[in-house]
C-alpha cells in the first residue's frame, strides 16, 4: 500500500538538508516499526519517494512524501495510528498534517506538482519591494542565467511567475512577498526569483506555504490525488 504524507518542517530543523531529511525519514519509519517494501537488487533500499527538494534553511507547511507500506507485515487496523506514531519519533519541527492512500498507479510528486507558493521575507522596505514587483509584473521577459545540473543556462523566467503579493511585517520593518512559482518543466527557485530584475532583493527567511497540481480545470493539493482513509477524514485535505 502506498501512503502519501503531508508534513511540516519548521524551526531549527529547517537547517537540515533534503538529503539529511531523507535519512531521518528512513530511521523514523524503522523506529515507528512501520514495515516498508524494499527495492530489489544488490543493495535493497526502502521504497520512499520525496517531493520537490526544499532549500536548506527554508521552512515549510507542506512537504510531501510517498512510502510503500508492506501491508502483509502490518495490521490494517493500525494504519490510522501511523501519523501519530511517526510524529512521536520525528524530530521537533516535523509534524504529520495529512495522510492519504494512493492508487497503485500514480504520477510521482516530483512530476505532478506544477507550482508552489512561497512566503519570502526580504530585507528591503515595502516601497522598494512594490517598485520591484511592478517591474517584474510589467516585464514581458525576464532573462537570467542560472545553474541547472552544474550547467549555466539562460532562461526567461517570467512565465514561471504566476502570482505575487506583498505584505508588510510591522514588527521588524521587513517585507514579505508571497509568490506562486511554477515548478515545470524546471522549478524556479525563490533565490532566482529575487534575482529576476535589478536591484536584486535580499532574502531573510523563506517558507513554503503550498504545493499545487494544475489539473487544467483547477489547482489541487497533492493530497487530493489520494483516497481518503475512512478513519481520519480531517487528515485528507489541507
Amino acid at each position: 500500500m502506498i501512503l502519501r504524507l503531508q508534513t511540516t518542517k519548521i524551526g531549527k530543523i529547517r537547517f537540515a538538508s533534503h538529503r539529511d531529511i531523507a535519512k531521518v525519514w528512513e530511521r523514523s519509519l524503522r523506529r515507528a516499526e512501520i514495515p516498508l517494501v524494499y527495492s530489489e537488487g544488490f543493495s535493497p533500499r526502502p521504497r520512499i519517494a520525496f517531493g520537490l527538494a526544499l532549500p536548506t534553511g527554508a521552512e515549510s507547511e507542506c512537504e510531501y512524501l510517498d512510502f510503500h507500506l508492506d501491508d502483509q507485515k502490518y495490521e490494517t487496523s493500525n494504519i490510522s495510528s501511523i501519523p501519530e506514531l511517526l510524529t512521536r519519533v520525528l524530530p521537533e519541527g516535523i509534524t504529520i498534517t495529512g495522510m492519504v492512500k494512493m492508487q497503485s498507479k500514480y504520477i510521482s510528486l516530483q512530476q505532478s506538482v506544477t507550482s508552489t507558493v512561497w512566503s519570502i521575507e526580504v530585507k528591503e522596505n515595502i516601497e522598494e519591494v512594490h517598485k520591484w514587483v511592478e517591474t517584474v509584473l510589467n516585464s514581458k521577459e525576464l532573462v537570467i542565467e542560472r545553474t541547472r545540473k552544474g550547467k549555466q543556462v539562460v532562461d526567461n523566467i517570467r512565465p514561471y511567475i504566476r502570482d505575487i503579493q506583498v505584505e508588510e511585517n510591522d514588527l521588524q520593518k521587513r517585507t514579505s512577498i508571497q509568490a506562486e512559482l511554477k515548478t515545470q518543466p524546471r522549478s524556479l527557485r525563490p533565490s532566482e526569483f529575487l534575482a529576476a530584475t535589478e536591484p536584486n532583493l535580499t532574502m531573510v527567511k523563506l517558507r513554503r506555504l503550498k504545493q499545487f497540481i494544475d489539473t487544467g480545470d483547477n489547482q489541487i493539493d497533492p493530497l487530493d490525488l489520494g483516497d481518503c482513509l475512512d478513519f481520519e477524514k480531517e487528515l485528507c485535505s489541507s
Binding site: K12, I13, F15, A16, S17, R19, D20, K23, V24, E26, R27, S28, L29, R30, R31, E33, P35, Y38, F42, S43, P44, T56, G57, V89, P91, E92, G93, V204
Partner: protein, 649 residues
C-alpha cells in the same frame, strides 16, 4: 536560562552544513539548569561530524544527566566559516542542546583524542570568553577539564587546563560533580577557585596541574613536585571493574545530519592485552573487561529499535577477540525482528581467515573493501612491535577474502618503527604485491591500498623511550615505498603527512613549556591542525624557536632509563619496569604472548582490583593464529618472569 539561538539563526544561512549547529539529535537533552546543579559542557574540540559519534562523550552525557545534581550539554568546535561570523558578531561558543553560552556552565570538559586538536581547545576557550591560561581565570569562569587518551601526557596543556581525569570516566565524573556541588550549593557560585581545585586534586584519578611545580634538570628534563603534602605524588588512572554495570550509552544520539561512524555502536569489551608495543590504547585501557554476550545482544536489539539505525558496529580494540563474537553476529543477522536489513561492522579486523569468515557472514551484499593492519612488513619487525602476524596469516586472510568476493583490500602499516631497516620498509611493498598476486587469481580487478603512517612514540608504551624518526627520514621512506609500489600494478600507496607526525611527536612526549608554543600557534591562526588543508608545520617550528625550544630534542631524542619523563607523576596501571623490559625485549626481537590465554606476566594493570584476568572466556579465541603463543618462535617457553616492584604511592 539563556540561549543565543535567535542570534545564531540569522547567520546559519551563510555557513556550510548548518545542521552541525542545530542539535535536535534523537536522545538529546534539554536540561533546565537548576540553580545549584553542576552544569557540564562536554566539548569535542573538532567539527561536529567528527565529535558527535564519540562514545566517551556520549556516555558521560548520559551519566551526568541522570544525576540529580548535574546537568550536561554538548559543544563542538565551530567550523572556520562560522567562527569568523561568531568573532565578528561576538557570538560566544554555545551548546548545541539549548544553545546556551559556554561561559554559563560550571565545567567545560574536553575530550582529547589527538594532539593536533590542542589548539582547537584553546580556540574553544577563547570563543567561550574564558581566559586561555588557567592562572588568569577567576571565580566567575568555568572550570576547564579534559579527559581522553591524550591526557596520559597532559603536560603541554598543564597551564591551560584546570584538571585532567585519567582513565575511565564513568565514575570520576560523579566524584567531580560531588565536590563542585558542595562548593556551588554553599555559595550559589563556584567561590574560591583555588580551594575548589585543591579539593578536586584529592579525587582519585584527577590531576590538577597547578598543584605541582615544575623544575628542569641540566639536560632539560622536567620533574614535578606537589606544592604540599596533601596533594598526591602519584595520580592513578580510574578503572571501572565491571563493564556490565555501565551499559552506556543507553540512548545513543542519532544525529540529523551525516557524521562519521553513523551507526549504532556497542562496546563489547574495553582494554586489550595483545601487547602491541606501539599501541598506547592497548596499554592504557588494560585490563580487558568484556561485556556478557547477553548484554551485548540486548544492547544491539534495544539500540536498533530505539535509534532506527540499520547498521551496528561492535566496538573494541580487537573485536574478533571477543569471546562471544560468533554467536552475537549470527544471532543478530538471524533475528527476525531485524527483517534481515541490519548489517554489522567490525571496525577492527584481526588478520586471519576466521575473521574474514565472520566478515563474510555479515556482509551479504556489498563486498567492497576489507581492511587489515599488519603494521609492519617483515616478521622481524613485527616481533619488535609484538604484532605477531605471520605472513601466512595475512595471505590466508587475503585469499579467503578474494575467494569470497571481495575485490579491494586496505592494509595499514607504520613506518619509522624502532630498529626499522630499509628491508623492513620495503617489506611493506612486497607484502602488498603478494596480496595483489593472490587477488588476481580470483579477479582481474584485485587491488590493494597500502596506508602508511609515521610512528609516534607514546607515553606508557614500551616505545616511550624511542627517538622518533626525523622528518627527512620519514620522507625518504615514503619516497622509497612510492618508487617500490610503482612496480606492481594494483597497489596504491597512501601516507600520513610526516610533517604532522613530527608535531604529534613533539606534543606526545612534550612538557609544560609547550603551553606557550600552543598559545603562539593558536594566536597565529593554527586551528584545525588535524585537517591537512589547515595544517602548517611552519607555525609550529617558528613558535618552538620563539620559545627557545628545540623540536629535535623533544621528538627525535632517545631517552634513557634514568631520565625523568614528564608523565612520571601519572600512573596508567603499568609498571615502569615492565615497560622497560618490554622495550629491551623489543630491541632483541622477542615477542610476548597475550596474557588472556597464558600465565600472567604482571604488567600491573590488574593489580589492586581483586581480579586476575577479567575475561569471559578461558579458552583461546577461535581460529586465530594470533590467539596464543602458537605463532611465536619462542612459543613453548613460559612467559618471561619480570622483576615485580610494588607501586610507589
Amino acid at each position: 536560562m539563556s540561549t543565543i539561538w535567535e542570534i545564531l539563526e540569522g547567520y546559519l544561512d551563510q555557513v556550510e552544513k548548518p545542521a552541525r549547529y542545530i542539535g535536535l539529535e534523537q536522545g538529546a537533552q534539554k536540561p533546565s539548569h537548576a540553580e545549584t546543579n553542576v552544569a557540564w559542557l562536554l566539548t569535542y574540540p573538532d567539527v561536529y561530524e567528527v565529535g558527535l559519534p564519540n562514545q566517551g562523550l556520549q556516555i558521560l552525557y548520559e551519566i551526568l544527566n541522570e544525576s540529580p545534581i548535574a546537568e550536561a550539554e554538548r559543544a563542538y568546535a565551530p567550523w572556520v566559516d562560522l567562527e569568523e561570523i561568531m568573532r565578528r558578531e561576538r557570538i560566544p561558543l554555545f551548546s548545541v542542546d539549548t544553545h546556551r553560552p559556554a561561559n554559563e556552565f560550571d565545567v567545560i570538559a574536553f575530550n582529547l583524542s589527538s594532539e593536533l586538536v590542542y589548539t582547537n581547545l584553546i580556540n574553544c576557550l577563547d570563543l567561550a570568553g574564558v581566559p586561555v591560561m588557567s592562572s588568569d581565570r577567576e571565580n566567575m569562569h568555568p572550570v576547564i577539564g579534559a579527559g581522553g587518551h591524550c591526557v596520559y601526557n597532559p603536560e603541554p596543556l598543564a597551564d591551560i587546563v584546570d584538571f585532567f581525569a585519567l582513565g575511565d570516566g564513568e565514575e570520576v565524573v560523579s566524584d567531580i560533580t560531588q565536590v563542585m556541588h558542595r562548593f556551588k550549593s554553599s555559595e550559589g557560585i563556584l567561590h574560591n577557585r583555588q580551594e575548589l581545585l585543591f579539593e578536586l586534586s584529592k579525587i582519585e584519578g584527577v590531576y590538577v596541574p597547578s598543584m605541582y611545580t615544575a623544575t628542569y634538570d641540566m639536560n632539560g628534563a622536567q620533574t614535578l613536585k606537589p606544592i604540599n603534602d596533601e596533594v598526591p605524588k602519584l595520580i592513578e588512572k580510574r578503572t571501572i571493574v565491571d563493564l556490565e554495570e555501565w551499559p552506556y550509552p543507553k540512548e545513543q544520539l542519532v544525529p540529523i545530519t551525516e557524521v562519521v561512524h553513523d551507526r549504532l555502536n556497542v562496546e563489547v569489551f574495553r582494554g586489550c592485552t595483545r601487547g602491541c608495543r606501539f599501541c598506547q590504547a592497548g596499554m592504557i585501557t588494560r585490563p580487558v573487561r568484556e561485556r556478557s554476550d547477553e548484554q551485548v545482544r540486548t544492547m544491539i536489539q534495544s539500540g536498533l529499535k530505539r535509534t532506527g539505525y540499520d547498521e551496528v558496529a561492535l566496538t573494541s580494540l580487537s573485536t574478533a577477540d571477543y569471546s562471544g563474537i560468533k554467536d552475537v553476529v549470527e544471532e543478530t543477522i538471524a533475528d527476525p525482528v531485524n527483517c534481515g536489513q541490519v548489517s554489522i561492522s567490525l571496525p577492527s579486523l584481526r588478520v586471519d581467515a576466521f575473521t574474514v569468515d565472520i566478515a563474510a557472514s555479515i556482509q551479504n551484499a556489498r563486498r567492497t573493501g576489507l581492511t587489515f593492519a599488519p603494521e609492519a612488513g617483515t616478521w622481524r619487525m613485527r616481533q619488535v612491535i609484538n604484532k605477531l602476524i605471520r605472513e601466512e596469516d595475512l595471505y590466508g586472510a587475503v585469499e579467503s577474502a578474494f575467494s569470497q568476493g571481495w575485490r579491494r583490500m586496505k592494509l595499514y602499516f607504520l613506518i619509522g618503527l624502532p630498529t626499522e631497516t630499509d628491508e623492513d620498509t620495503l617489506g611493506i611493498a612486497r607484502m602488498a604485491a603478494n596480496c595483489v598476486a593472490i587477488g588476481k587469481r580470483y579477479t582481474s580487478a584485485a587491488s590493494v591500498t597500502v596506508s602508511v603512517g609515521g610512528f609516534v612514540p607514546k607515553p606508557f608504551t614500551p616505545f616511550q623511550w624511542f627517538g622518533q624518526n626525523t622528518l627527512e627520514e620519514l620522507n625518504r621512506k615514503v619516497h622509497m615505498l612510492k618508487d617500490e609500489v610503482r612496480k606492481t600494478k594494483g597497489v596504491k600507496l597512501k601516507w600520513h603527512d610526516p610533517k604532522a607526525t613530527l608535531v604529534e611527536g613533539i606534543l606526545s612526549r612534550g612538557d609544560r613549556r609547550l603551553g606557550e608554543v600552543l598559545k603562539r600557534v593558536w594566536s597565529s591562526g593554527g586551528t584545525f591542525q588535524e585537517w591537512s588543508e589547515y595544517f602548517d608545520l611552519d607555525l609550529w617550528l617558528s613558535a618552538m624557536e620563539k620559545e627557545d625550544l628545540n623540536y629535535e630534542w623533544f621528538a627525535y631524542r632517545h631517552r634513557n632509563v634514568e631520565e625523568p619523563l614528564p608523565w612520571d607523576h601519572l600512573d596508567a596501571g603499568l609498571y615502569k619496569d615492565f615497560l622497560w623490559q618490554e622495550w629491551r625485549d623489543a630491541l632483541e626481537e622477542k615477542g610476548l604472548e597475550d596474557c588472556r590465554w597464558t600465565p600472567c606476566y604482571d604488567c600491573g594493570a590488574c593489580t589492586g582490583y581483586g581480579l586476575d584476568h577479567v575475561v569471559a572466556s578461558t579458552s583461546p579465541p577461535v581460529g586465530g593464529s594470533q590467539g596464543t603463543w602458537q605463532d611465536l618462535d619462542n612459543g613453548n617457553f613460559a612467559p618471561q618472569l619480570l622483576q615485580i616492584s610494588s607501586k610507589a604511592r
